[in-house]
């Protein structure tokens, strides 16, 4: 019990300290996600390989050699019984705390919005997104003249936070490229922020909470472009709107 408490205190302290450090630097949650993914994959692969080898070895080694043969496992003594429960429990818990600590750090990277982030308001409808920029320009995510979903642009260099609300049913703002999503609903404003240090034209926004007939069709490319290109696009969008 004491060990548990001191581990949790240490964890809390480390998290606070790392949280402070994180607030100052530019964070890239998607990159941190990938690092954590690699660590977790390594973790579960090690466990999986050990258990698989143990199973295969025993399934082969302990095959009966005659029809009346019985197993020869002895009943565990009380000490053995408790040890075989406590020691694995301790190992699993140690692994759990390691994962929790790393998970906590990456969580904070996602949830702390940088102070200089550009605020874009998102309203979700069945079945499209609408984006409102700080200067009041509204870009709607419906299909363009080419019958393809319109790309939505944001400027490179300044983090962007999407503050989101739905007018009708549950939707979700899914950006696999940035390894992030969050639900959108009536009655609450939720948020997602992204690091825009790198320009890109690959990110795809997809609705990620079932919302009816055209749930599979509620999507827009989200492009990060140099400031000048963004401002030209914004002006053009404002003029068309």
């Amino acid at each position: 019990m004491r060990k548990l408490l001191s581990a949790m205190t240490g964890l809390a302290g480390a998290t606070l300290a790392s949280g402070q450090a994180l607030a100052q630097e530019i964070r890239n949650p998607a990159e941190e996600w990938e690092h954590l993914w690699d660590e977790v994959m390594m973790d579960i692969t090690i466990i999986g390989v050990i258990m698989t080898i143990a199973a295969i070895v025993m399934l082969i080694k302990y095959r009966a050699t005659s029809p009346d043969q019985v197993g020869t496992a002895k009943k565990l003594t009380t000490v053995q019984s408790i040890s075989f429960a406590l020691i694995p429990a301790a190992v699993f818990m140690a692994d759990d705390f390691y994962l929790a600590a790393n998970g906590w750090t990456v969580w904070n990277a996602y949830r702390r919005v940088p102070e200089n982030a550009m605020e874009v308001k998102v309203t979700a409808y069945q079945w499209y997104f609408e984006f409102e920029y700080p200067d009041g320009t509204v870009a709607d995510g419906t299909l363009g003249d080419d019958d393809l979903p319109k790309p939505i642009l944001v400027p490179q260099g300044q983090p962007v936070v999407f503050r989101m609300y739905s007018e009708d049913v549950l939707h979700s703002f899914g950006l696999p490229y940035y390894r992030v999503k969050e639900d959108i609903m009536p009655g609450r404003i939720t948020y997602v922020w992204i690091n825009t240090e790198e320009a890109q034209t690959e990110a795809i926004l997809q609705c990620a909470e079932f919302c009816g007939e055209n749930h599979s069709k509620m999507s827009n490319p989200i492009h990060v472009v140099p400031q000048a290109e963004f401002e030209a696009w914004l002006a053009k969008t404002a003029a068309e709107g």
Partner: protein, 544 residues
């Protein structure tokens, strides 16, 4: 034999009437088996349609997005509520739990019959949703506001849940009273089969948590049809209230499925290894009851991207990671039961061995999902879909199929093992891997759930291939499973009538359902002599 003469020269009762009016737990078990396998068949057909549709971009099989959505809704709801839960807690518990504890039936046989008839009515209601013009299209989770504003018939969903929930609660009371009061003299708690313990735990979970699901869906019914606003923020309600109520039940519900499946595996492994259960008390107390204790405080991991406050998402990260401790202890006992065993391989043991692999994949791929930061990306992707299929559809279903093969000689007096059984096992095992591994891969790259089309991702390449190629492989896998399952079903039916005759205890088990009954057990199970066990007896007495 189509009629059975009664004593004292009364008129013979026709067989159909006997089954209709039966209160015998064994017959009720068979009724649950037939109902759950029928549900499996229809829901499986839905899965084939879904996989055929997802195989290529564009719409090929379904006629509309709404039709796809209604098929997907039926697949999920039927597999969980009409196949897995009734198959494991309905069929397996009903047939074998009383036998294992030396009881002649359950505590309340007529309520038991009422439970199975509620189940049948629920299936009929669910199937009727195919013939109405406004089939439910709300997914098995049924989240508002969509489930309130849709023109789909949410009431069908709610009433099906009511019927099944009521059936389960009655079953829970029945079996808990049975185990507490009707064990054979001499049978203490630490002499129970692991399957009995896991089933007791599953029923405790049902009893405690189903009322919350009932509340969730009933408030939904009121919002949609009576104009209330429990889930409507524009009039003081809260959208997230539903999700919390729903998952407060639905997370423990996965243990209602997982635990009896694990219990069946322990029975198969212990018998086929002729070995005692490894660290029995650890498996039961910190293992099974540890899972039950923690199961009620992890539900927020289904709401990691839902907009709930950060502190509760992180709190449930800790509890969700911690539940791996009792699961690990239970799994270690399962592995340990093989140690120094004397294993013989029948079809049941092949399924059990495959379950060791399936529980590893299903359980370990859940670990990233325990972390909210990982789930921020993986949520609502095919990664989650593949994870829960490995642990629920594959692990739990394969455990159930193993149990059917294992107990087949007891239920019918015949073996179901043979070339057809072995071949269909391998078709199923290969098929499930071919179906679900590709989905992990494209899920991590963002392939969403509940999408009939994924055109926006057509330029995304994973290992040089677009998502469509992975979907094609998955659909081939589904076809392999379909063949395997059809062959297996045929095998069960054929073997019930024409299988090789089996003795009363073909696997030389020490468990009471094998040692003290004929095959199939007659009325009253044990003949004229009540079962009494020695205080040192256990069902795993292979080597004292």
């Amino acid at each position: 034999m189509s009629t059975h003469a009664t004593t004292a020269g009364h008129a013979a009762v026709p067989a159909w009437k006997e089954w209709l009016l039966t209160t015998d737990h064994k017959r009720i078990g068979v009724m649950y088996l037939v109902g759950s396998m029928a549900a499996f068949g229809v829901a499986g057909l839905m899965a084939l349609i879904i996989r055929a549709e997802q195989m290529e971009l564009g719409m090929q099989i379904v006629t509309s997005g709404t039709q796809y959505n209604s098929f997907l809704y039926f697949h999920g709801a039927a597999m969980i509520l009409a196949f897995l839960i009734p198959g494991l807690t309905g069929f397996a518990a009903n047939y074998f739990l009383p036998l294992m504890i030396g009881a002649r039936d359950v505590a309340f046989p007529r309520i038991n019959a009422f439970s199975v008839w509620l189940f049948f009515f629920a299936i009929i209601l669910a199937l009727l949703s195919f013939v109405i013009p406004d089939a439910p299209d709300i997914m098995w989770t049924g989240y508002p506001p969509y489930s309130v504003t849709t023109s789909g018939n949410t009431a069908f969903y709610v009433f099906t849940v009511h019927l099944l929930g009521f059936s389960s609660i009655l079953g829970a009371v029945n079996f808990l009273v049975t185990v507490i009061y009707m064990r054979a003299p001499g049978m203490g708690w630490n002499q129970l089969n692991i399957f009995v313990w896991t089933t007791v735990a599953a029923f405790v979970l049902q009893l405690v948590f189903i009322p919350v699901l009932a509340a969730a869906v009933t408030l939904l019914l009121f919002d949609k049809y009576l104009g209330t606003h429990f889930y409507d923020p524009s009039a003081g309600g809260d959208v997230l209230l539903y999700q919390n109520l729903f998952w407060f039940y639905s997370h423990p519900a996965v243990y209602v499925i997982f635990l009896p499946a694990v219990g069946i595996l322990f029975e198969i492994i212990a018998t086929m290894s002729k070995n005692r259960v490894f660290n029995y008390k650890a498996a039961v107390y910190p293992g099974i009851w540890g899972i039950v204790a923690i199961s009620g405080i992890v539900w927020i991991h289904h709401l990691y991207i839902s907009g709930m406050p950060d502190w509760i998402r992180l709190g449930h990260m800790v509890t969700t990671l911690l539940i791996s401790v009792p699961v690990g202890i239970l799994v270690l006992s399962m592995w340990g039961t093989l140690y120094k065993g004397a294993i013989t391989y029948n079809t049941a043991m092949m399924y059990a061995a495959s379950c060791l692999y399936l529980i590893l994949i299903g359980g370990l791929t859940g670990i990233p999902l325990a972390l909210p930061s990982m789930t921020l990306h993986l949520s609502e992707t095919s990664y989650v879909h593949a994870h829960f299929h490995f642990i629920m559809a594959l692990f739990s279903a394969f455990a159930l199929f193993g149990g059917i093969y294992y107990w087949f000689p007891k239920m019918t007096g015949r073996y179901a093992d043979g070339a057809l059984a072995t071949f269909s096992f391998w078709m199923n095992f290969v098929g499930v891997n071919v179906t679900f591994w590709p989905l992990f891969i494209i899920g991590k790259e963002g392939m969403p759930r509940r999408y009939w089309d994924y055109e926006m991702f057509k330029d995304v390449l994973v290992m040089g291939h677009p998502f469509e190629d992975f979907h094609k492989v998955a659909t081939v896998g589904a076809g392999i499973i379909a063949i395997g399952m059809i062959m297996q079903t045929y095998n069960f039916i054929h073997s019930a009538f024409k299988g090789k005759p089996a003795p009363a205890n073909p696997w030389n088990s020490r468990s009471l359902e094998w040692t003290h009954t004929v095959s199939p057990p007659g009325p009253g199970n044990f003949g004229d002599t009540d079962v009494v066990v020695d205080e040192n007896w256990t069902p795993y007495e292979y080597n004292k």
